[in-house]
């Protein structure tokens, strides 16, 4: 069974009946491992469409969870369950619950560091006082506003006013939470969440390949959310200094939030500042200040020290990239595409109004970036299959567009794989306007292909 990955959470959704005989056929260790490789914060099994389960059935999942937790420090457990199912699971495992349970996927997302929507008002209740506290701390650390009910009566009363809260949490249990460096993308910034005592282990838990590729894709602002950091030693200091030096080559900025002199020595902070790292007290100091955000990250794409150009390896694979893109858009729109022109040059977008864009990077045997520029109508049509309706909600269209570009990336990966070229893909990035795309891509040379879908022009651009 394949997992669906959203908000940094890999979710498996079995249907029907789960018992000791069939559970291992639903989910294998390979299924879970391939999901973990997608850089997820959590692996969950949704019980939304399970009408019956017994302990023998769940035991198979629990064993898999335990193996994964031992190998990778990520959160594992169940989601999407009602009160009856929650009681059954807590009864089966009583005092021995080392996995997490979330009453819904939406509530699980609140605890995922890759969830980009913060500042949610969250009403929460648990019979267990230590659980109430643990959840409140985690939610607060994740940037939400938890409202904790001390007893069920209070919860019952408050939860009656559903519109007052973004999320309502009950029938939820936090087992061991993940410890890897989680990543989320907010606009033009990438936020890494680090915690506890930082030592040489940071080199293992931080995904350096992902970071380098984000630099290549055009991200220029990297924020380390260090609220939960206790302290760090010289090895971690060296790691961050090296990271800042390499970022400088791309004119990128590294910031730390929530790391003050109570957590690190002054001399450490000075060394980091010398390497170019900037410190802020609150995340809001950066994300809430649009001008500062621009200064820190969005306007530097043209100044990359090592401006890279197209090479033969990538150009020879051009047909694979175009095929993957055309096939995906054709699949999503059920319409045919026609190629109009192919040109090697800097990106050239004739009319910028009413267009949105998306990009995805790839790295491995070859590396580069695919940029797709959609007229809004084509984007809407392509997203209809995923959304199920025609919508004008631009945020929803951009989110769905990211999923669509993920499919393009997956298809590129598969087509190149068929030709013996191994690549991995990054998280997709979307752009509200062509101006924001051009900030990243205007000086890059690449192959531009103009395509026509249903009389609407659509632009494909492959660059490095």
């Amino acid at each position: 069974m394949r997992a669906l990955v959203k908000n940094g959470i890999g979710v498996f959704t079995p249907q029907g009946f789960l018992d000791g005989n069939n559970t291992s056929t639903f989910l294998s260790l390979e299924d879970v491992e391939s999901t973990v490789e997608l850089n997820v914060d959590m692996v969950l099994v949704s019980l939304k469409k399970v009408i019956f389960f017994n302990k023998n059935g769940l035991d198979v999942f629990i064993k898999l969870f335990s193996k994964i937790r031992q190998a990778k420090s990520i959160t594992v457990g169940f989601c999407d369950l009602d009160h009856k199912k929650y009681i059954a699971i807590t009864k089966f495992y009583a005092e021995n619950i080392n996995f997490s349970i979330f009453n819904s996927f939406a509530n699980a997302s609140l605890f995922s560091s890759s969830f980009k929507n913060q500042n949610k008002n969250v009403l929460l209740f648990s019979d267990d006082k230590s659980q109430r506290t643990a959840m409140a701390i985690e939610l607060h650390d994740a940037g939400h506003n938890p409202i904790v009910c001390q007893n069920f009566e209070e919860f019952h009363e408050k939860s009656a006013n559903k519109s007052a809260y973004d999320n309502i949490i009950q029938d939820t249990y936090l087992g061991q939470m993940g410890q890897k460096v989680a990543t989320r993308v907010t606009g033009n910034a990438i936020i890494y969440t680090i915690s506890a005592f930082l030592d040489t282990e940071i080199g293992n838990t931080f995904n350096i390949a992902y970071h380098k590729n984000s630099l290549n894709v055009g991200f220029r602002l990297f924020i380390f959310d260090a609220y939960k950091v206790v302290s760090m030693n010289i090895h971690a200091l060296n790691f961050f200094s090296r990271l800042a030096t390499s970022a400088a080559e791309y004119n990128a900025t590294i910031c730390f939030v929530g790391l003050d002199s109570t957590k690190v020595q002054d001399s450490f902070q000075e060394t980091m500042e010398d390497a170019g790292i900037i410190f802020y007290a609150q995340m809001e100091d950066i994300l809430g200040n649009k001008k500062l955000l621009e200064e820190l990250g969005a306007s530097s794409a043209a100044n990359i020290k090592n401006q890279r150009s197209l090479n033969k390896a990538i150009v020879t694979k051009l047909p694979d990239f175009i095929d993957a893109t055309v096939a995906t858009i054709e699949m999503m729109t059920n319409s045919k595409a026609a190629k109009e022109a192919i040109e090697v040059n800097k990106i050239d977008i004739k009319e910028t109004e009413g267009k949105i864009a998306s990009s995805i990077g790839f790295y491995g045997d070859i590396d580069g970036m695919v940029v797709l520029v959609f007229p809004k109508e084509i984007a809407k049509k392509a997203c209809e299959l995923l959304i199920g309706e025609n919508t004008d909600d631009i945020e929803m269209i951009l989110d769905t567009l990211a999923e669509l570009v993920n499919i393009v990336g997956g298809k590129v990966k598969s087509l190149l794989g068929d030709h013996g070229v191994k690549v991995n893909i990054t998280l997709p990035r979307t752009y509200h306007s062509i101006d924001s795309l051009l900030e990243v891509a205007k000086d890059k040379k690449g192959v531009q292909v103009d395509l026509v879908f249903d009389n609407e022009r659509f632009l494909f651009f492959l660059t490095r």
């Binding site: 069974m1 394949r2 669906l4 990955v5 959704t13 079995p14 249907q15 029907g16 009946f17 789960l18 005989n21 069939n22 056929t25 639903f26 939304k48 469409k49 399970v50 009408i51 019956f52 017994n54 096939a327 995906t328 054709e330 699949m331 999503m332 059920n334 209809e384 299959l385 995923l386 199920g388 999923e403 669509l404 993920n406 499919i407 997956g410 298809k411 598969s414």
Partner: protein, 265 residues
């Protein structure tokens, strides 16, 4: 990915009921089982299907039954009709399954399991109606339709499903405005199956409850039975578990009764 034209081509290709089968069916419907057996003998494929079916372990016969007259006698009138419909459906099933890891044998197993458990359900509900008994035979047509329409685009569907949880029925509905169950109804019409059969199966998707209470109850039992069977390891491994969405809310009110009947612990 899948177009309206693909659906039209698929429906066009549905073979008409073979003459021998047609004649056998009329005689079975008239209760003339021995005459029906004589006619059925002349179609070797039908004969072989009937022998293989009745000798499956689930029927529990110790010695092999190979006489068609005896087989119709053992099955009785409603089950004979049901078996003939099941046979018709195999005429539509692919030689080689690509989308689902099925073969002639495992698909036959699914048909047999569904038929026998459906019989148990109807006995429990005290329903004696041979058309209703036969309704279960059309249900696996939904699997055949998904296989026929999506087997050539398996990789694309896998990619699509890796970013968004969509079942085959939803994909088809959103792309072409037609559901898998709409196509099942068209198959039933082409084969002159009684309207009641297609009505029950249409509602058993769980997405289009029938306004006829009796049909709606039967559709609920059928929906739950389908997912009970699709949770079996053999069918989970065949990637059948999530080919359509399980509508858990649709069947919640009959679940307790179902679990007692199926002795689920």
């Amino acid at each position: 990915m899948v177009t309206k034209n693909d659906i039209d081509i698929f429906i066009e290709k549905i073979p008409p009921t073979p003459k021998v089968l047609q004649a056998t069916m009329i005689l079975v419907n008239n209760g003339e089982l021995s005459k029906a057996a004589k006619i059925a003998q002349s179609d070797l494929a039908l004969k072989s299907y009937l022998i293989n079916l009745v000798n499956k372990p689930i029927y529990g016969f110790r010695t092999e039954v190979s006489d068609i007259g005896q087989i119709f006698g053992i099955l009785g009138l409603p089950a004979s009709q049901q078996t003939l419909y099941n046979y018709m459906l195999t005429l539509l099933s692919p030689k080689k399954w690509e989308l689902f890891k099925l073969n002639e044998k495992t698909f036959g197993e699914l048909q047999a399991h569904l038929s026998l458990k459906w019989k148990k359900i109807l006995e429990h509900l005290d329903i004696k109606d041979k058309e209703v008994e036969s309704a279960i035979t059309l249900l696996p047509a939904s699997i055949i339709v998904a296989e026929a329409l999506f087997s050539n685009v398996k990789k694309d569907v896998d990619l699509l499903r890796s970013v968004h949880h969509l079942d085959y029925n939803t994909i088809l509905k959103r792309l072409c405005g037609t559901s898998i169950f709409d196509i099942c109804v068209q198959i039933a019409n082409k084969w002159d199956m009684p309207e009641e059969i297609s009505e029950i199966v249409y509602s058993s998707s769980g997405l289009n409850p029938s306004s006829n209470k009796e049909i709606d109850i039967l559709a609920k039992w059928m929906h739950l039975l389908l997912f009970y069977e699709l949770s079996k390891p053999m069918f989970v491994e065949a990637s059948l578990n999530d080919f359509i969405d399980f509508q858990i809310d649709y069947v919640t009110d009959i679940y307790e009764e179902f679990s007692k009947l199926m002795e689920i612990e």
